[in-house]
Subunit: 334 residues, 2 copies
């Protein structure tokens, strides 16, 4: 038996708030050999996601919470270095719940093999991966934009938002992206060619939205919650669809989250507000994966990734999310 | 020309809050003769509805607001006393937007002729009328309860709620009604045979709901908003459906309504919250009308009405709504 040089990051506490370094313990426990059906992987990328805040909260949600002392849950991309599963060979690259660690032996049932020809690995973690699928299904299935519909996407330059925006553009909608700061807004305007862009850090969101959507909003893809959700709800049109995907503005505030007082506009507008997670679409991943890869390789889908080097930077990188400091899909490269 | 003894109640102010007597002016203007296509009717019943608070608010909603000096908008049932429309004969009874007045000449396009054999007129204003249709479509189309589903209805003894409850019972759901006070709760328990009843005036709603719905809630038909909506949202199950029909707890508070912080549960539960008004179902009224009349005459549908005599009691009667003092469909009889 060789001594492992693997690193694991474990949950040290589960109080509310934006998690800083004190939330984590580093360990260097040896990695067990894979059992029958498992594979051992060497991690290349660890995904940094808003959902992590939820997984750390000790309340049963769509997944059980991570326990104190457990390796933190995360999506990752790794290379198979030992296989006890005949679906996976050494050298294959896989995506799945790997945890925040450098190596792991994992049940292969829920791992997805990646096609290296589709796109670089970081892109397959972002726009062509789980966040991209989330934007794709939320926009197509829940929002169902029609030609000419006025579509608003918040967190528009993020990994989920940018795909949601582009899917709506392809559907022929008039797409308005909301993001923070000139750099992100320039990307939305100049690279994604959105019809209008709102910079929530510099614009009065309500006034600007009235200016660019004078007749109101048909579709809202919400990644942020808070005041933005309330403002858009106040402007919805008849039979509007709101996909509730995330609430990054509220995750540090989960003991007393802000509810949208304008939800009553749903009554007078016969609007629908629907939440979802990728859990609802697991069986349809191949459809999204193929469609997004096709668009990407035709040059029709643009995606942005934000890669930080080194597992030792995990805590700092996670904090960037809650301050909107990332630009594109955030991940740690090992 | 004879001098009219008609009475009209007109909007005197449109400030927020529960409308007291100071919101109304009484006039005794003569009623014009019906023009071509119109009928003149003598009012028998005027419906008192939560929607009135919205119609008085000077914000464009699903209908334009009532202007200061205009006759207050209301549903009513009247008898045709003069007809210039060949679809309606003198002696017919009709339902529609009659306004709060004793007589009126009205465009007959949107009047609905009542079948006196279906049920007494007060019942046709309540459970077999507009509120009943609202409960019927909200429950069938938006909530779509399945056998064994846990269904919660607030304002359950009201005109909309009692029909929603009974429609859910017919679908084979486990139905929990929320109402205020022992009299209403006894009605829900003993007359409507609901599976469980919560008295929001005497029970801890959250604790009681956890007791009677330990596995959570599949369907919520919301007539009240506020804390009750938030509590139920916190307990929804996977793919829950919430029909947002009204928010009686918030109508006096429309400048700063309470939003449900637990709306985020929609994400983790893949839940849907959908608003509606009868505007969405105008073409399907005959379906609901026939179904509800059939159930009523078979003794399978029970409805409660609360009739107050005299147009002079309009202002006091409207206030009863906002204090939950009515029991069943509230109306003024002329």
């Amino acid at each position: 038996m060789t001594t492992s040089s693997a690193t694991q990051i474990r949950l040290a506490k589960n109080t509310p708030g934006i998690p800083d370094a004190s939330f984590w313990n580093f360990t260097h426990d040896p990695v067990e050999a894979p059992k029958e059906g498992e594979v051992k992987i060497k991690l290349h990328y660890i995904s940094i996601d808003p959902a992590m805040r939820g997984w750390m909260t000790p309340i049963r949600s769509y997944m059980p919470p991570v326990q104190i002392g457990e390796v933190m849950r995360a999506f990752g991309i790794g290379e198979v270095i030992e296989s006890k599963n005949n679906q996976f060979a050494v050298g294959d690259f896989v995506h799945g719940f790997t945890g925040v660690q450098t190596e792991a032996s994992l049940d292969a049932t829920f791992l997805r093999k990646l096609n290296l020809d589709d796109a670089p690995l970081d892109v397959q973690m972002g726009g062509l991966g789980w966040p991209g699928f989330t934007g794709y299904f939320g926009m197509t299935d829940i929002c169902n934009p029609q030609p000419g519909d006025v579509v608003v996407v918040s967190g528009a330059s993020g990994a989920v938002g940018e795909v949601a925006c582009q899917v709506a553009k392809y559907a022929g909608a008039y797409v308005i992206g909301i993001a923070g700061g000139e750099k992100k807004c320039a990307y939305l305007r100049d690279e994604l060619n959105l019809n209008a862009v709102i910079d929530y850090k510099n614009d009065d969101v309500k006034a600007k939205l009235k200016e660019v959507a004078p007749k109101g909003v048909d579709v809202y893809f919400d990644n942020v919650g808070g005041d933005t959700l309330n403002t858009v709800l106040g402007m919805i049109r008849y039979k509007a669809r709101i996909a509730v995907c995330g609430a990054i503005s509220q995750y540090a505030n989960m003991d007393k989250p802000q509810g949208p007082g304008n939800y009553m506009k749903l009554i007078s507008s016969s609007g629908t507000m629907r939440g979802f997670t990728m859990k609802d679409y697991l069986m349809q991943i191949p459809e999204a994966s193929q469609q997004l890869a096709t668009w990407y390789n035709e040059g029709q889908l643009k995606v942005q990734t934000h890669v930080v080097d080194g597992i030792e930077n995990f805590a700092d990188t996670l904090q960037m999310l809650f301050h909107g400091k990332n630009f594109g899909k955030l991940m740690v490269k090992l």
